[in-house]
Subunit: 375 residues, 4 copies
Amino acid sequence: MSTFGTLFKVTTYGESHCKSVGCIVDGVPPGMDLDESDIQPQLTRRRPGQSALTTPRNERDAVAIQSGTEYGKTLGTPIAMLVQNKDQRPHDYSEMDDYPRPSHADYTYQEKYGIKASSGGGRSSARETIGRVAAGAIADKYLAAVNDIEIVAFVSQVGDVSMDRSPRNEQWISTLEGVTREGIDSTGPMRCPDLALGEKMVKIVEEHRDSHDSVGGVVTCVIRNCPVGLGEPCFDKLEATLAHAMMSIPATKGFEFGSGFAGAAMSGSKHNDMFYKDVASGRFRTRTNYSGGVQGGISNGENIYFNIAFKPPATISQEQATATYAGKDGVLAAKGRHDPNVVPRAVPIVEAMAALVIADAHLIQESRKGAKSFF
Amino acid sequence: MSTFGTLFKVTTYGESHCKSVGCIVDGVPPGMDLDESDIQPQLTRRRPGQSALTTPRNERDAVAIQSGTEYGKTLGTPIAMLVQNKDQRPHDYSEMDDYPRPSHADYTYQEKYGIKASSGGGRSSARETIGRVAAGAIADKYLAAVNDIEIVAFVSQVGDVSMDRSPRNEQWISTLEGVTREGIDSTGPMRCPDLALGEKMVKIVEEHRDSHDSVGGVVTCVIRNCPVGLGEPCFDKLEATLAHAMMSIPATKGFEFGSGFAGAAMSGSKHNDMFYKDVASGRFRTRTNYSGGVQGGISNGENIYFNIAFKPPATISQEQATATYAGKDGVLAAKGRHDPNVVPRAVPIVEAMAALVIADAHLIQESRKGAKSFF
Amino acid sequence: MSTFGTLFKVTTYGESHCKSVGCIVDGVPPGMDLDESDIQPQLTRRRPGQSALTTPRNERDAVAIQSGTEYGKTLGTPIAMLVQNKDQRPHDYSEMDDYPRPSHADYTYQEKYGIKASSGGGRSSARETIGRVAAGAIADKYLAAVNDIEIVAFVSQVGDVSMDRSPRNEQWISTLEGVTREGIDSTGPMRCPDLALGEKMVKIVEEHRDSHDSVGGVVTCVIRNCPVGLGEPCFDKLEATLAHAMMSIPATKGFEFGSGFAGAAMSGSKHNDMFYKDVASGRFRTRTNYSGGVQGGISNGENIYFNIAFKPPATISQEQATATYAGKDGVLAAKGRHDPNVVPRAVPIVEAMAALVIADAHLIQESRKGAKSFF
Amino acid sequence: MSTFGTLFKVTTYGESHCKSVGCIVDGVPPGMDLDESDIQPQLTRRRPGQSALTTPRNERDAVAIQSGTEYGKTLGTPIAMLVQNKDQRPHDYSEMDDYPRPSHADYTYQEKYGIKASSGGGRSSARETIGRVAAGAIADKYLAAVNDIEIVAFVSQVGDVSMDRSPRNEQWISTLEGVTREGIDSTGPMRCPDLALGEKMVKIVEEHRDSHDSVGGVVTCVIRNCPVGLGEPCFDKLEATLAHAMMSIPATKGFEFGSGFAGAAMSGSKHNDMFYKDVASGRFRTRTNYSGGVQGGISNGENIYFNIAFKPPATISQEQATATYAGKDGVLAAKGRHDPNVVPRAVPIVEAMAALVIADAHLIQESRKGAKSFF
């Protein structure tokens, strides 16, 4: 459903053509500085029209906090936030509406609910993610206060142009250690930390755009400075809730953390991360990090990193030989311009979902630490 | 935590050396035939010692239903099930206990809880999965009654020996269509439907066993005959709850469904699944299935299939240069024989978690269908 | 926290002086007619200033649906609703703010959260209930469609003027059978179905108002035409979730259903409700209804009825000898006019919470009925 | 359903004639001393056959911890506990089984689930409460460690013999301050702190027993030393979760806390609890406690006290003129001896449910306190 989290709990609402989209964030710790300027930057990073590569609609997406703060401080009560929709009228019927768009959610929404928003997939619209990003920005701020926890996502693949994400690749590990949101945004429209690859990715997206096609990609995310001990086995292991969060983002096809699918081909003697005591920091650490910062479902203090596969956007303006809801064969040609690639815009969404998971896990672990102090 | 699901809800308990392991399954629909003979086969498939390739301990793992049935019918009340542990004594201290085992859960459990079962990772033990498998067997039976829903998992990769899992590979699609649990079990110890590859996998596992090492692998699962309409956007999309379920299984590193990570490299024009009306069955179907049976988070009636990456088991009997809890460098050598590869045993665990997710999604959708009938 | 329900799930937000108050209602069955005109009447019944007996502030409280409907039909997606606050500025400091108001939530909010809305109790403000009433109106509409389920609340006591609520009193049972919302509203400002008692209640409230005091009361609620089988033992028995819902309303001190506290004094031979088959309706019924329509936590098809005790409002304009937060003795005198009695305004809030509980229980039972049809 | 709580979470199972009854308690803080001797005393207080006034069956009810502890310490993992049933065979059919017992759960269970345990109400059996009591004993131990929190319940009414529970009655307030479990148990079979009334209660129960009838009563519970700040508005106010917990106990008809229903008749000027600083303890306190230790849904540090009404047991051995399931009028006469009054046995059940609520609220508040410390 539309609520996520146990103690840090977000509930979202809204589709493309209703009055507004937004969320209620419950369980935000009280006494934290917070106003719209903490939320808006991530919403702005999420919105379309930021470059020639993404859809040119200009959505302003200005967030308004409705409740839960006073004089710029959180009260511990639910924080509602909303963004007005510009286009609030249901979409008019056209012949194209006789067709469920291939690989879109039109057909499944119609079958599940027996009714469907005129705009198509309803909650499968990308506008649904606005509530997530707004909520995630609050979680972000909390995590920075807690332990300087930093969450940074970036594009590591578009089509077949990919960074070498092998956990044995030292340059990759060093990228994970060093990337920042500011740095990523300065690299250009693809948000890829490797500038040369970023340029190739731009070309691939342009080619797909010009041939009325679309192309998929991979977003990688790293969480740094996460304290040891987060995650709730056995069902709410940290990787399980991260996977849940990421796979709930529209258009995702896969999730892997640490060594990921490559780890399946490895031997234990290579994959095991040996421990050592780091003299400088006094921290107990591992020499390698194939584990991806999580062991037994619990964070171990190393960088948590994971990759999310995004499929190519389903809406393309090529003609497609498909069938109408009534089962009649025909040709569907979507009109207008469509996003040939979504992964740069997915970056703040991934960061938001990661922040929500870590904030919730952190609060739960705080309850245990407090409790344990009594005996 | 240790409860999973909304209406079909399982709670598990138990670690290696306590009295018993088991679960309570709440929300099982009433009036269904059920006794231990429905549960035991999957537990037996899960247990170690089934071949020379897995750990030779002979655990009988006989399940006993405690409640929730009478005269072989479910009552609609919670069904508790338990399996006695053979070794109920805490493990005695040895010098090896000074070391957190690399890439195991010893260190993170100790840090999270401030205490640790003598047996090591406590709930990260493979015995924790017994409760899942017992619960999943009930879900299985329900799903078979509901719509002849079939869930079959198998090993598709060990080390670098892998089936070609490309969704463009017609043989792969045909394997997904045809595999059965009985068929898989008849292929040999690796539970790989490709006999030639299965033999190669055996060799790889034997090599690792002989060199006191371990090796990872991939389990693939297919869900057939799933009705259209399951999954609860936006946070509980079917792929999101499947990912959560799968990534909560010990030793998993990745989850992908449909085209998965390969889909990230594809173009929309290739990836989109065109619709058609199947005259024979009268069903509205898709010509290809890159979507993996789920669109917009909701099942579309096609086969749901996904891959789960398992890392190599962390416990190996090679010497490992690591550190003690106290931070002193040293050499750890695990004693005894250890499982060099777990993926064949993971097969029924994957099936169980898939069944739990689908049963829960099915019940939720039934509530909506019933409700909708009133207007 | 601020989310209530399992399948029919409402999340509320807002306090007195923020931008808006409202809610997100998730899980509303799709395809139901719904627009603001279904919501507004109950909000209007809830608002203050309806008579000389209640606080004279004139809040318009016009609700705006933000999402989840199109062309006047529910889509099955979350329905957000909001009501603008007229007074959006935090309240200015006055000397009175040094005092936690006696029996109000000022002190406990300050201690729990370490911060407090300037308006005082934050979420303990009566404006918090707007979201509940809006959500309840949707549940109401669903329940009417389902089975002509009717939920009617009314005032049965103010101060020591009370209707005879004994379950042996035939007139009382007949009142429960016959009351309607329209009828109740036509009785005058107290919403008491006994006109003579209603007039006495008015006098009591006037006396308290004139002496700068306040007075408590009791609201009774009846649910008619509830189908047999709702409620989820053992923890979510129908009376348990109703009690939870009712005791979450501000200023409540008690909940009893059926025979209630009077039942504690009775003998089993008198209290047991004998069964019979009603020839006219073909229904299996009970001759008496001390059970209050629920047996073993599950509805039995008889009228469900319960009473909720409300304390006298804590804010009075008499001088009160109390202490400041700093612990200094002093005298607090609240300024302005305050509601001397809240029970008539509580009537739609009680109805809303009852509707939310029954709608949720109904959806859960629908899931079971659908499931059971498969075997 | 059968799971209760958010962080301190209990799931129970079992009915009268299955193999065992028990529970899984998840979220118990790690590192706490715990073995069966902490659990058994409350189970023993709960069991029948303790005096001539209760049913003479001698159930031993010996609890066995299955998991979650090692060397007498909690591990932070789920603690499963079970008690064997002595009578594990389904009950044989008799003519009496054609009748749903009046005011029992036979009819509603049959209608809800379409099947029914032969023993009758299945989970509505009193044996269901064993899991609650076992879980509550763990919560008790935690709460004692946390803040010397004490929870004591006792019988304050049987039939029409009642202690004066008015919050204005100083002797009542002093009883709430001073009662202990040991003291209560020493008063005799009725567990009433007023010895003279206790003797009258015994007579009433004997009279009902001798006339093959039953009689109801009231249990009062007090929670002392509860810290300020527990409870989660707006839906999970402390009184709301306590009400939920108490009204989920079989045979309950009402819940009131603090001034309760009597408070509805009071004026605000009398009901408001004035604050003062207690010099000796340094605590901020209230001079009266009509609030019952909770204001705005949050504990204020004063004693939390509440009353729960229990109806007379439905099973009586008098002949009852009722109807069969088939709707045929007839006479039902229950055989055997039945408990004429259950309130003394309800005492440990009430304590257990109170402990579960407070432990859960305490853990949630600890998470907030920990979080807040970061800014």
